[in-house]
Every structure is written in C-alpha cells, then in structure tokens.
C-alpha cells in the first residue's frame, strides 16, 4: 500500500477574522470596484462597509472598505489590490492611527405626543431635522461609528420607517511629513 501523503489543506495558518479598513486611491474607470470586491470575495471574506467618492484631484477617487478578514488574508488582499492596473495607492489601517466618521439618516414614525422625546435625542446628539411630514420625521446624525450606534439604539424604539448609514469614512490621523494634501 502506498504511504498516505502529507496533504496541504490550508495555506494560511488558522487565524480569527478581525475588522480591518482599507483605503484605496484609484482612477475613475469602469470596473474598479468590481475588481476590488472580487479580490475580497474570492477569499471568502465579507465587506461590512464600502464607500467611494471623488477627491481633491480630478479623476482620482477614494474608496474606503471595512471588512472582516484574517491578518494573513488581508495582507494578500492589499498586495493584490495594489497590483490592479487602475489603482494608484492602497493603505491598510493595520499599524496606523485613524479617524472614523459616519452619517446616519433615519425616518421615524411621528406623532405630536412623541415630539418632545424625539427632540430631546436630536438636541442632545446635534441631530438635524431634514424633513417633516405628516406621520414621519427624517433626522440626520453625524459622529463616530460608536456614537452612531448609540443614537440608533436610542431612536429605534420610536419606530423606524427607514434607515440609511453613509458607510464609514476613514482618514489617517497624521500625514507623512511634507505630503501635499
């Protein structure tokens, strides 16, 4: 009988998934987001937040992705993203301090009896009433993801009709010396 062979079942060491943030500068070309998200999904990792918009440079866009991944998997993803032709720069938040900010847009069931209670939350957390209709009120809140979580927990009992989160904007705390922004 032939000796059973040592077989490789998993390339990466067994690791737990953590939340990571990747910040990408890219050209504004079709297919960039498809290419990026493909590299994440083929490894079986899940994106928790994905935002992208223009920057101070014309035709250069910034994409910020939060995802659950293993540290080794993340390294591979970042290197592969950097290889994509339309990508200018990739950073991961692995060893850096960074700021996070998010917007919450929430539409609540409204009645005159709830007015005082709702307004209390809005005032306390610097919310902005953006729309008021018969039976519904739409409010915007800004803050760190943690703060937004708290606000959402407080406001949920009023009866949510719809909720939109902007996704998490991330910025490095410090720029490299001499870097022009």
């Amino acid at each position: 009988m032939v000796k059973k062979l040592e077989r490789v079942l998993r390339i990466y060491p067994k690791e737990d998934e953590q939340e990571f943030t990747i910040s990408i500068l890219c050209e504004n070309k079709p297919g960039v987001t498809a290419n990026v998200s493909n590299l994440i999904s083929r490894r079986g990792f899940n994106i928790t937040s994905f935002i992208g918009a223009s920057t101070q440079t014309e035709d250069v866009y910034k994409i910020i992705i939060k995802l659950m991944a293993t540290p080794t998997g993340l390294k591979g993803i970042v290197k592969q993203i950097a290889k994509l032709i339309n990508i200018i720069e990739v950073r991961n938040s692995f060893n850096e301090e960074f700021l996070e900010y998010e917007m919450l847009l929430v539409k609540l069931k409204y009645s005159i009896e709830k007015h005082g209670d709702i307004l209390q939350v809005v005032n306390h957390y610097n919310g902005e009433i953006v729309d008021l209709h018969e039976g519904s009120i739409t409010i915007a809140f800004n803050g760190t993801p943690e703060k937004v979580e708290t606000i959402f927990a407080l406001i949920k009992p009023f009866g949510c009709l719809d909720v939109v989160k902007s996704g998490i904007a991330v910025m490095r705390k410090y720029e490299d010396d001499g870097a022009d922004c």
Partner: protein, 545 residues
Amino acid sequence: MAKMMGADILLKVLTNQGVSTIFGYPGGATLPIYDRLEDYNIRHILVRHEQAAAHMADGYARVSGEVGVCLATSGPGATNLVTGIATAYLDSSPIVVITGQVERRFLGTDAFQEVDIVGITIPITKHNQHIMSAADITPALKTAFLLAKSGRPGPVLLDIPKDVLTEETEYDPDIEATLEGYNPIIAGHGGQIKKAANLLMSAKSPVIVVGGGVIRSGATDEVVELSELLSAPVMTTLMGKSAIPQSVEHYLGMIGMHGTKQAMDALKSADVIFAVGARFGDRAVLSYDKFSNLAKFVQIDIDPAEIEKTIKVDIPIVGDAKNILTKLIERLKGDDSIKERKRELVKRGIELYEFDEGMSIPSIIEILSGMEGDYIVATDVGRHQIWAARYYNSAGLGTGMFLTSGGLGTMGFGLPASIGAKVAYPDKKVVLITGDGSFMMNIQELATSSQHNIPVVVIIMNDHHLGMIRQLQDTFYDGKYIECTFPDNVDFVEVARGMGLDGVKVTDINDVKGAIEKGLESDSTFVIDCIIDSQQNIPYQSYDK
C-alpha cells in the same frame, strides 16, 4: 487626418505592434474585423474551437516571449476562451485576447450571444476592459500590449462591441495611454540585495530554486553563474523545467510532490534557500509547515504579491530576476572570501528508468530524450506530464522550450500550445507528449494543423486510463478505481487519417524510436499512438527521511 473604421484601426494597431499571426474563430460580432483582414499583413490561423485559439496564443507567447494574440466572437466564443485565458494567467504568459461584443445599444439586454466577458474574466486576467468607442481602440490596444508583456506577464482582454468596430473615427497612431497606477518594479532594492549577499556569503549550504520567472526574465546565465560562484546546487519547479540547461552538472532536477530525490535531499540539508521567480505553489512545497522550517529564505520575484504569499520569507527582493542577479553577482565577486568558498558540488545523477522491455511512459520519454534533438517539447496534463518533467533530460532542450500547463493543469493544452509554438518557430521540431485523456480534449485541432500545414509530432501515451486519476484513487481511495478507464474504442491513427494526417500505432518498445524519427521527418503532423502496458505510478516525495 483620415477617418477610419474601428476594425481597420484595430488591425492597423496590431500590425504596428508587430503582430504577424492571430489565432481566431469568426462570429457575428467580429465579422467587421474579418471583413477587413485581407488588407493587412496578418496571418490568421483558423482554429476549430476557441479554447485552442487561446492555448495557441499562449504557446506562441511562451516560446517566443512575444505577445500572442487570439480573437473570438461574443457569447460562446468568448466563454470558450476562458480556460485558455486562465491557463495563461496562472503560468504568467503574455497574451492579448480580443472578443467581439453585441452592439452598444443591446448591452445588458441579454441580446443574442451577449455575455459579460469582462465580468467573467476579472479574476483570470492581468487587466481587462470594455472599449466603448472607436477612438479608444488605439490607446486600449497599446496599453494591452504593454501590460501583457511588462512586469509579471499575463493575459489582457479587450471586449469590443460590433458597432464600435464599424464606427468611423480619426486614427492617430501616436496617442499614448497613461497608466498612473502601473509601475512595475524592475530594479531590486539595493539594501535587500546587500542583505541577501551577506546571507549567501555566510551560508554553509545554500541552494537555488528556480521557477518560470527565470525563463520570462531571461536570467538563465545569471542563475548558472551565481550557482557556480556559490557552489550551490540548482533545482527547479515544474514551470522552471527548461530554465536551466541540462548540461549544468549541479542542476539536480525538479522539487516538489513528484520531484527528484536528489533535489529533495539537497533542500532538506540546505541552510539558505534562494528562490528566483518561483511562487511556491502547493505541489512544489508539499507542506507549508515543514517547508518553512527547512532553512532561511531569500525570494526574488517581480510581483510583490508573490512575496510571502505562502511561506515566510527572510529576505524578499522585488524586481526583475536578471537585473537583481546581475547586481548580486557583482557584489559577491567584489568580496575576496567568495573565492575561498569553492566546495565540492553534488553532481546530478540523472534518474534512469529501469527498462523492462515493456511499453511504459517513462521508457518512451527516455527514448525521446536520448535523441538529444533541440526540439520544443510540449506536454498535456496527467501522469505523462510528470513522467516527462522527470525523464525528459535531453541536452538539446533549449531555455523556455518545455511547454506545460503547470498552474491550472489544463488537459487539452498540449496540442494547441504545440501548434502555437511551431508557428513562432517554424524551423524547430515540435514534439507533443500527451495522454489518451488529454489529447481527446482538443483533438479537433488536428484539422487546424492539417489545414494550415503546421507539423507537430504527437506521442500519445495511450494507457486507456486517466492515469493521474487512477494514481490518486490508488493513493487516497484505497485503489477503488471509478470512472478512470477508457475502453479501447478510439483509433487515434484513423482519426488522424480522417483529418488528412498520418500516424502509426506502436505496441513494441523497439519500434518507438523509429516511429518518432518518422514523425520528425514528416512534413505534416504525425500521430504516434503508443499502447502502454504498465500502469506504474509516479513516486511521491516527502520530507520524512
């Protein structure tokens, strides 16, 4: 400036890029190109299946180092290319793939023969792109050739709607495309090279592991010089098979699951493993834990994403192998102590197959190898592929002249790849070593070879089995053979004759050499159907003892 049709611009830019041959198959969406083809000095090889067009472009690219071009229509034409594109991607072969697409106004409507080939090929191309106007054709094609060839080579796909091909626009040959984010690293980092040099100087028994990157970079001479300087034995991965001349005595053969014992022993006793253009795939490494613990690693690769992808590397150097090795050798030569390091080198004892007079795959390969011709040798995938990698040790094997689908393991790669190679080198003899399973997967290309008179010598290792499947069932499924046997219901020689070619069936080992010689002399493709008696398995290598 004169206005031109998109199809004309496409053909013009191809001509300007030096393309002399394209492999393709027409369809509704690409007819505007075919309609204009005869006005340009481009040879079109009409294949019988689009998959083969991609493999031919791949084979052409592998031996010539130039970009291979293939062309298919939208929908099924494009999806038939997918296996060929993936094969080229995993083995870093520079091809440009052009697919037709439905007219722009039909995009996204599931129109007849519409498929999102750009979406489908995202993970298997270096880059791909829709071309949405005739004015974009010139910059997109120029970019495609640049991307396919530079840095780590790979396939680039361009998808062109039919009405873009008929759209008229001004043709400006001088338009340049900007690629802000693309900047492959060629020169290695000086500090890293210095570190590597210091490590090599202090190493007691360094070994060099060479992958396909050395062929792509053309760094064979540098590797040999470095190995002599360090008195270090050299071994290759499957993709690096023809990177080192067989005449180098301290070339110990192939590492990995089916490598040579000598190479494995050298790996095990090494204190520094110096890897050039090898990506440490699972079949080469066997066990990542055990491999990583063997020695200190220096890894040279042009692709930063390959560094530490699978194993921990002590000194990574990103850049072109030839460039980095030249600098490294210079630095080592500047050190006097290198001359005192001369050590006795292990010489390769080429493993010979124990001849038992029967028809067996290794013995046939040894006969071919013993003929020492400077043939281009292609293989398919399966047991014959590994036997060929082990026993084809002909001194005539030129750099990059061993074609095999190492990464994807595509059965059916061999015949079209050999045809592509023959187109690139019409003066060289091309020999295909294939199996009865693999050959059947693209057997229709015999008709292509017959029509265009592209002669290849085909040696079929016909054991009426899917040999590798049989071996795996032997090893891992207690010898329970399921669906790995073919009945004796195909006469390959008659099939060849049916396509205007000739061949011979061989059942006696003493007739093999004569049959191969006859094939080499033939001016059309010659099929040698070798009926194999033995079902011998390929030995496995392991890290234990």
